[in-house]
Amino acid sequence: MVNPLLILAAGLGAAFLLGLLRETSERAAFHTTVGALAVMAFVALSWTVALASGQTDPVEMLTAGAKPPFAINLRTGIAEAALTSVVTLTGLLSAFFMRRDLLRLGRRAMAVLLVLIMALSGLIMTRDLFNMFVFLELIVIATAGLVLLSKDTRALAAGFKYLVVSQVISILLLIGIIFTYHANGSLNIDDISEVPMGANGASLAMFLVLIALILELKPFPANGWALDIYESAHPGFSAIFSAASGSAALFAVYKVLAMAGPDWALLAAGIGIVTFVGANLLALAQTHDRRLLGYSSVGQIGLILLVIGFADRLGDSFLYIAGGLLVSHAIAKAGLFWLSGMVKARDLSDWAALRENPVLVVLFAVFIAMLTGLPPFPAFYAKWSFVHVLATDGAYSLMAVFLIAALIEATVLFRWFGMALKRSSGHSLHISLTGEAIALIAAALAIAVSWVWGNLSGQENLITLVPLLFALLFLPLDILPARIKNVLAIAGLVFWFAVTKNGLDPLRYVFLIIMVLGGAILLLASFHATGRRMGFYTPALLMFAGMGLLVTSETSFQFFAAWEFLTVGSYFLILRGQDSEPHALSYITFSLGGAFALLAGFAIAANGAPTFPIENLSEVPSRIAPYVFVLLAAGFLTKTAVMGLHIWLPGAHAEAETDVSPMVSGILLKAGLFGLFVLLMEMGRQELFGVDLTIVLVWLGALSAFIGAVLSAFQEDAKRLLAYSSISQMGYAVFGLALMNHLGWLLALMFAINHFVYKSMLFLAVGGVKERTHTKLMYKMGGLITLMPFTFVSVLVGIIAMSGVPPLSGFGGRWIFYNAIMSTDLRLPMILIFMAGPVGFLYLFRLIHTIFLGQLKDELRLTKEAPFWILLPQMLFVGFLLSFAILPGMILRRVDSYIGTLFGDTPLVWTGKIVDSQYGTWNPVAIWGVIATVFVVVFILLIWMNHNAQKVKQFNIVFSAERPFKPQTTHFAWNFFAPYRKAMGFLETPVATSFWSGVSNMLHGTADFTRKLYTGNGQTYAVQLLFFVIAVYLIAMGGLS
């Protein structure tokens, strides 16, 4: 192994060597620079690998042949090696990225770059306080030098502000250092840390050192100067500034904190969380991409500072957590800055230009997912572990703040992603193969570190999961025609079903059928797509992978990871819809919010363990159980879109593509239901403040069922109508589950199956209509029955089934429902459910009437039947609904007996095909027999009497002795339930929407107000900095005394 000092030596040496070169030989200079950086990176990496694999031990390097305190020492342990790797690699890649500008500016700029990387590495390795100061000053000088790389003249001002602030910092640092030395007689970090430093006279000195280094991290709100750099500097340099400088400074803070002792940890943690929250909040208000990235960097670094503040309590996992966050931040942020170099204009929506190159879009998605901490990236494991530690410590409020800020961060990033995918940009992309290659390398590194972190996690290595890999396989395969990919996808789903189906209990089995096999059936509709359909299959299969894994998951970690997979997959899927940008954003916001609630719940339930088997939820101590229950239920209810948490659903489901809507509505909603099943199965009834939480659930379910139905009746958009109806239907299911008895669960399951079938069918049908009419607005349609007979049949069967009218399968649900409520004491919420029943007719009738009946519009006269592939699954569903209506036992019976084993009762008696309960009977075959017979007889009678009826056309109606003017004015469709609205319209008051938009406005308002701090004046920033120092000092002293 070569000496790690070579990293410093190579940097410095090459920088000097550049001085010897001729002014004109820029190419040679560039090669020298890159060569030196490569050597540095190689050394750092080789040490990382060696240390990680245990081949060598950490090494101390002494200078001047003496031991500290008489000389400076440097250390290379695993953390140092890894960080230098990050720094040098960022430097190397950025150097390539900045190639053209470096060549333009010549060897001086390259030398400065080398010095910067060298100084950053030095800052990481040194164990000497003053040496740290020296390296910091070198960094400042190099940074200020590199800012000049930018062609943006505003960067000059930014660089100057930076220098001003750096001067102030260095004054603080120097004073701190000298008094620390005075008090301890040594500048060596290890020496100083041996003498415990309490809150004595030296604490001010220590404070100054610490705060000076923390200021280097650009803590909120004393960071305006840094953001200007991010905004105006060359993106290649910003990448270094964010990824490398940030990492190095963080490590310096870590070292000093370790030296200062645990008393100061709280200070760091406090500044960290304030920064994390503040920066993310401000990022909400940004429209400039690089400034947003700047805020995001500040936020991420604040987060890691928070983790550093917790270093003591994290123990062994500290490096794992902080490293995970840091490496994710570094790679993702560097990658994003590099991407920003390829986007010409600076508005967030200008990133739409990325769409010219699908690879870049994928990279963008990868970086954003990595930054947000989605699986399988390291930050995911880190967040998981960190939240678990926080929960173990009982730091619940901190956990809450952390998760909320993380949610804001995710919102910021996904808002941006949505803009990139859905907006249009006036500027084309500045394609550079080097840039693309570099970003690709970053993504490859991201995957590599994900693998490493997965291996270290002690959990399942998520990146090796077969379903995930299968989904990712479609990224390279995206060049194939959609049909081939579709065959592959269906085969994959069926295969996965066959592999995993064994050994599942009937409940999970049913969900597996719905989620995986159901997915395969719905994918049949995707055969309709022509061309390549880029970017559809990966998210779709990611979603199905998540659901497949969810059903088979055994531990909380697996469950949560699967949950995140399906959330992310479905987000990308929903985003594909035409006008879905804002809806996809609110979807991902709510979903991640729900997911974070799950995370918090699991963390609290884990009680110190890194993960736990799901069935151990039943053993959660009763002290915390209700809280766990509330959190988990909140997470699941977000997914089932219970009233109040529903506002994401209508838009998301309505704007999605034709074959996506049934997937996200018919299948995805069941994930939340499945979660609730598991939760209630394991935890049962819980009481919080004397309130039985299942009763709250009952009320929520009933409320959703009712209001969802009412709102549905008032929609003009067919898909929105169906979406609201889903809220209502899920309300029934939640209601049934929360009844906590055998029949309630059977009811929920019946609803799960039925809702999957008829909602998929209806969404497909409406989607098929939309394919032909190019609109979702029902009043623009009408009279399509003769043109789209098959679609009509499927809607007809769908609405009869859904409304619960015998003989179709919805009736079974209602029958079980009545039997279920017979054996419970809850009576009041029942009323809401009773009200929801007939309201269901309102929207269902409207759906079929305004689309298929009434007057045909001129422009739709030639409308053709929906495409075959969209019809095919519908017809399969129709067949299923009919047979399920006659023979419900084929599925229900097994599940019934399984639920019986859970509750230890058998309320239903199956005699042949007849179901008997304690209260009544349901004989589906007889019902079918009677109804079919009567129907056929009456029908024959009518044919006999009216066989010679004259077929007339649409205007042959009695019209008060006049004739209709035109179809539009004759088709009664818009505001169909006007009288109902008059009476019950008050239920439309958008309480939940107002609430959430209030929250969002408040956040944005705060952000807008807070950013007034950033006046742009360097002096003001310096003053803010000083005030910040004083404020922190006063708070810290108050806290210490």
Binding site: V134, V140, I141, L156, A157, L163, Q167, L174, I175, I178
Partner: protein, 119 residues
């Protein structure tokens, strides 16, 4: 008041004076001068903290090595000051370079003219 205390007081006075000057003057050149004053103050503080009354400068040419430990002042702060002065010089030079280029770009040396980057 001992020499150390006087130096310390002067040093801090210079620091505060420098900072006040840097933060209250809008002219960039005046700011740079103020920062120089502040760094001088810092250097003074550095030296003052390391000073031991009655001892000599740690120059081993004139003092026998054997008795050096008793006769010289603490060498570390001295070394620090030297380094700090060098670095201060570098930073000042860079700031001046910036001042030059800012003036070239905008024809102004007023720091409040360079606020287009904000929010």
């Amino acid at each position: 008041m001992t020499l150390v205390q006087i130096s310390l007081a002067t040093g801090f006075a210079l620091i505060f004076l420098g900072l006040y000057g840097a933060l209250s003057n809008r002219n960039i050149l005046r700011m740079i001068v103020s920062f120089t004053i502040a760094s001088t103050g810092v250097n003074l503080v550095l030296v003052a903290v390391g000073y031991l009354p009655g001892r000599e400068a740690p120059i081993l040419d004139t003092i026998p090595v054997a008795s050096a430990a008793e006769r010289i002042t603490d060498p570390v702060p001295q070394a620090l000051v030297l380094t700090a002065i060098v670095i201060g010089l570098g930073v000042t030079a860079l700031m001046l370079a910036y001042a030059y280029r800012l003036f070239r770009a905008r024809g102004s040396l007023d720091i409040s003219d360079f606020t287009e980057l904000k929010w």
